[in-house]
């Protein structure tokens, strides 16, 4: 007789499973109360007037407003811009770190991760100091004679993008670096011994093998940047208005809870769409790889 078939032991196993499930209950309850219930509440609020009556007017108002669509465009511009700059800056840095000796790489990684541990407000303040009209960067540029006039580097799209790239770069770097570290160096030696140039090795061996890491990094960048609030609020100077900023303004300046909720739902839908897009892309990538293996 097997253990699983013994009714006494099976009942015992079920009781133990129930007990282990119950250990998760307190955490699940508080997440339900403080995260999931609030999200459902946003949906409820989006159908209510200020007086608390049912309406679809909020949707009408928000979706027919030009401000909503320009906020949507600003959100996507910021996310895509951040992603592109992260790929351009992060991939070479990951390659350098992955090719360094482990001890050197560890020390450098600690430096790279330092901004991750400092408050976003501290970093935003640092950028404000650096990028202002009479800030350090403009002072350096004019002293070197590179520009006659100080450049408008902050309180606009440029400043917001710089702040967001600075926030996301370490998070983007982690999976790319991990993927590059895992590449079998014998593959590179083999390619080199058969006469591949460094450029060819990077293009045909290193980049394809780290595509998974770059992909994960891109998902992280999108998920984080789509709802960014602090950076555009401080470094955008009122000129950069992605969805998160519109939500805040609708809520605190206009006290319009219904419209703010509709904007929130829009943000959620946007996130879901992007998640589906990335998942489909990953499936296609896996499918192509399979196809290539069969061919």
């Amino acid at each position: 007789m097997t253990i699983a078939a013994d009714p006494v032991l099976a009942a015992d196993g079920r009781r133990e499973r129930r007990f282990f499930l119950s250990l998760s209950l307190p955490a699940l309850c508080i997440v339900g109360l403080a995260a999931i219930l609030p999200l459902l509440w946003i949906i409820r609020q989006s159908f209510l007037t200020t007086a608390g009556e049912y309406t679809v007017g909020n949707y009408d108002k928000v979706l027919s407003s030009g401000l909503t669509w320009s906020a949507l465009a600003a959100t996507l511009e910021l996310s895509l811009g951040t992603l592109v700059v992260c790929i351009l800056l992060g991939t070479p840095l990951a390659l350098a770190l992955a090719s360094a000796r482990p001890r050197v790489a560890n020390v450098l990684m600690a430096f790279v991760m330092l901004p991750l541990w400092t408050s976003i407000l501290v970093r935003t303040y640092g950028w404000l100091v650096l990028l202002r009209r009479d800030g350090l960067i403009n002072a350096a540029l004019t002293a070197l004679g590179l520009t006659a006039e100080p450049l408008p580097l902050v309180y606009n799209f440029t400043g917001t993008l710089i702040g967001m790239v600075h926030y996301m770069l370490p998070l983007f770097l982690l999976p790319v670096y991990a993927a590059m570290r895992d590449i079998d160096t014998n593959l590179i030696r083999a390619a080199a011994s058969m006469g591949a140039t460094l450029g060819q090795v990077i293009r045909t061996v290193i980049l394809p093998l780290s595509a998974g890491g770059i992909f994960s990094g891109s998902i992280i960048v999108f998920i984080y940047t789509i709802g960014f609030f602090i950076t555009p609020a401080v470094l955008g100077g009122g000129k950069v208005n992605p969805l998160a900023i519109r939500i805040e303004r609708t809520l605190s300046t206009f006290q319009d809870w219904g419209s703010a909720s509709v904007l929130g739902i829009l943000l959620l839908v946007l996130m879901a769409l992007i998640a589906v897009m990335f998942l489909t892309a990953r499936r296609l990538m896996a499918y192509n790889k399979m196809g290539a293996a069969h061919a």
Binding site: S24, L95, L121, V201, I206, M271
Partner: protein, 263 residues
Amino acid sequence: MLEAYPDNRLARVLLWGFSALVMAFLILPTLVVVPLSFSASDLLEFPPRAYSLRWYENFFGSATWMAALRTSLILGTLTAAVAVPLALLSCISMNRLGGKAAATIQGVLLTPSIVPGILLAIGLFFVLAAQGLVGTLFGVLVGHVVLAIPVACIVLLPALARFDWNQVQAARSLGANWARAIGGIIVPQLQISLLSATLMAFLTSLDESVISIFVASGRNSTLPKLMFLSLRDQIDPTIAAISTLWTAIVVAVILIVTLRQKS
């Protein structure tokens, strides 16, 4: 990794030169505030012409800043005190259950860290408003706890995976109940991971700004909320002093955590 190309000096120099610039980009904003915090001037001149501690005095002498600091420290401590035990219990449950059940629990617990902070913040604001709890410490606390639970789980899950469960079996077979087994065997052996989880949960709360901005108010304003408000209005060098202190504390905490984990 690129040992096969020892002759390609130019490529190496270019790659490392570029990487050095990118690393400078990452470090610069954190470092630039340090000399400014010791400046004697109202202007943000760099390098400062004269040095003083006036911005630190300004911070420690201001009742508003001190109240915010106290709120943030209390909130961080409470967050860690609530989030770490809850995270430990659910990590034990995930570790023992395995499979689909564990994945589902993990998925639910991770939700708050994936959903944009602004949505959590306004949702929580609506729920608290319906209960008349906006502006209370409690409202911010639950928000911070759900953000700290996943952070604590990231530290505790791998530690539990290395844990030898036979010890618990032995204790249980000798008559210890579960509370005894967890308190007497699991907790002491996970001491270092629990300390890391506590510090991380504390930092998560200390660093959180978006929920605080929407839900905290008046006497319960946190340090990040006050910093955000004064950054929006003007560039006050007091913030440079706070930033410097903040970075020093964070670096110290991270050093403690990594050194203790190594030893």
